[in-house]
Amino acid sequence: MNGDVGRTGMAQSILREISLALSVLAATGTRDAIDLRSLPLTLADREELEAALGRGDVGVVLEAAGKSEIWETRFTGVWWLRHFGGDGRVAAEVIEVTPVPDILSAHPEDISAAATRMAAELEEREHV
């Protein structure tokens, strides 16, 4: 018993919102995001939304503080981000309308930390 009562029409509303956000991104470059977790979606709504958006060119599995699945939908610039918590359940789920989701780009601080670490490792190898 999970309270699912079939489709409520919520998926259609979200699709319209995404469509609008995508037009704005195309015209002005302004990015947007929709938090799916805070919306009252039934299982059927979620399936309807996922089917309507489909899968596009990119699919990523991210391992950072647990697993995440990220894919670009068949509409370029519309990304689905699904973050898993403990026990394989979905902890957060967001649709991002952006050229590339922030979480995929390496952060400058991580890059400089990696540069330092790599140089140090090479140095260490030379000494050995």
Binding site: M1, N2, G3, V5, R31, D32, A33, I34, D35, R37, S38, P40, L62, A64, A65, G66, S68, L81, H83, F84, G85, G86, D87, R89, V90, A91, A92, V94, E96, D102, I103, H107, E109, D110, A113
Partner: protein, 366 residues
């Protein structure tokens, strides 16, 4: 021990990428009902913030609140909270004991004077000077006053700390009171629930660290992000309530059909918490979804409200003795009025008879 570096530095030192932080702030934005686009700014703010020193004191409690927060053993998104805070003292979790443990607390208090967050679970015993609950030779009352004095804010975690809880239930033998009754000169945030939702505890702490201020609170000092809606308002069984379809018992047709549990005592309409949206055990279920009405555990006095299975609309003290007594009194008052009226009438008739007799006598004696 508190570290001096920023959270960003600490994460790099532990080999945790900024992606993890970004993922966590996205998750936080979701549970705090903030716009999802805020997650990047939150991640930047957290990376440059210092780890928040937290001192956790446990008083008259059952450790359920600590269990609630630490229930997960896998390194997951929810555990990121422990990278944001420096839990300097927590009796249940800390490895050290005795004077070493007390020493750790003193050190944290001195190093972060006026900056640490004090988390309290459990109510404070005030009866007989607080001797009902002591630790390290000190009463909880004494410890609370002392440690709260240098805290930035106090987080009352769980209904015991927030509103007194089960220890305060009648007849309250230990003189238990909520933390807010002792600490009146500092912000006290209540995160009620028996136990509170772990996301509500972690989310509130994360909010304080990220934004450097306290979240918006309701009239009972609970964060509105988690306590803004009633269970009833967000309940998936609400359509059955509106249609007037109610389960009459826990094993009837209505119960099996998943109808509204109002008639079997659900307190959802007067209970403010996020159970219906965040749910429990990582979003698996919550009491109503599991077929039991809401007990109202995040509300003050839920323990003394006249029966968990009594419907909300039913009067709780519709005492038969009192109503019966009133009926007897009513009958007696009615009978007395009748007796009085009859007596008056008899007296009036007698007076009339006497008067007419007098007239007859007068006529007879010219």
């Amino acid at each position: 021990m508190s570290e001096t570096g920023t959270i960003g530095e600490a994460l790099i030192a532990q080999g945790i990428s900024r992606r993890s932080l970004l993922k966590y702030t996205g998750y936080l934005a979701s549970i705090l009902a903030l716009p999802p686009m805020a997650s990047r700014a939150m991640a930047d703010a957290l990376a440059s913030a210092k780890r928040q020193s937290v001192i956790w004191l446990s008083f008259q409690e059952c450790t359920g609140c600590t269990e609630s927060l630490t229930r997960s053993f896998n390194p997951t998104i929810e555990d990121m909270i422990f990278n944001l805070i420096s839990l300097d003292y927590q009796e249940t979790l800390m490895a050290s004991a005795g004077t070493a443990a007390e020493g750790a607390m003193q050190a944290a208090r001195t190093a972060n004077k006026g900056k640490y967050v004090l988390v309290v679970d459990g109510s404070v015993s005030t009866g007989a000077g607080g001797v009902y609950s002591t630790n390290a030779g000190k009463s909880n009352l004494e410890t609370l006053k002392e440690v709260a004095a240098d805290a930035m804010a106090v987080l009352s975690v769980g209904t015991c700390a927030a509103f007194g809880g089960i220890p305060m239930a009648k007849p309250n033998p230990t003189g238990a009171v909520p933390v807010s009754e002792i600490i009146t000169d500092k912000p006290v945030i209540n995160i009620s629930g028996c136990p509170p939702i772990p996301e509500a505890i972690a989310g509130t702490v994360a909010y304080i660290i990220t934004f450097g201020k306290l979240p918006d609170l309701d009239h009972l000092n609970r964060p509105k992000a988690f306590f803004g809606d009633s269970i009833h308002d967000r309940c998936y069984r609400r359509p059955f309530y509106d249609k007037g379809q109610f389960a009459k018992s826990f094993d009837d047709e209505g119960a099996r059909n998943g109808w509204c549990l109002y008639e079997v005592g659900c307190k959802g309409p007067v209970t403010y918490n996020a159970c219906a949206t965040l749910k429990w055990n990582g979003g698996v279920s919550f009491p109503i979804q599991s077929g039991h009405g809401c007990l109202g555990c995040s509300e003050p006095g839920f323990w003394d409200r006249g029966g968990f299975y009594k419907p909300l609309s039913a009067a709780v003290m519709g005492n038969r003795e009192i109503i019966g007594g009133a009926a007897v009194a009513g009958v007696a008052a009615g009978a007395a009025s009748v007796a009085l009226a009859r007596k008056r009438r008899a007296a009036a008739l007698a007076a009339q008879a006497a008067a007419s007799a007098a007239v007859v006598t007068q006529e007879k004696t010219p």
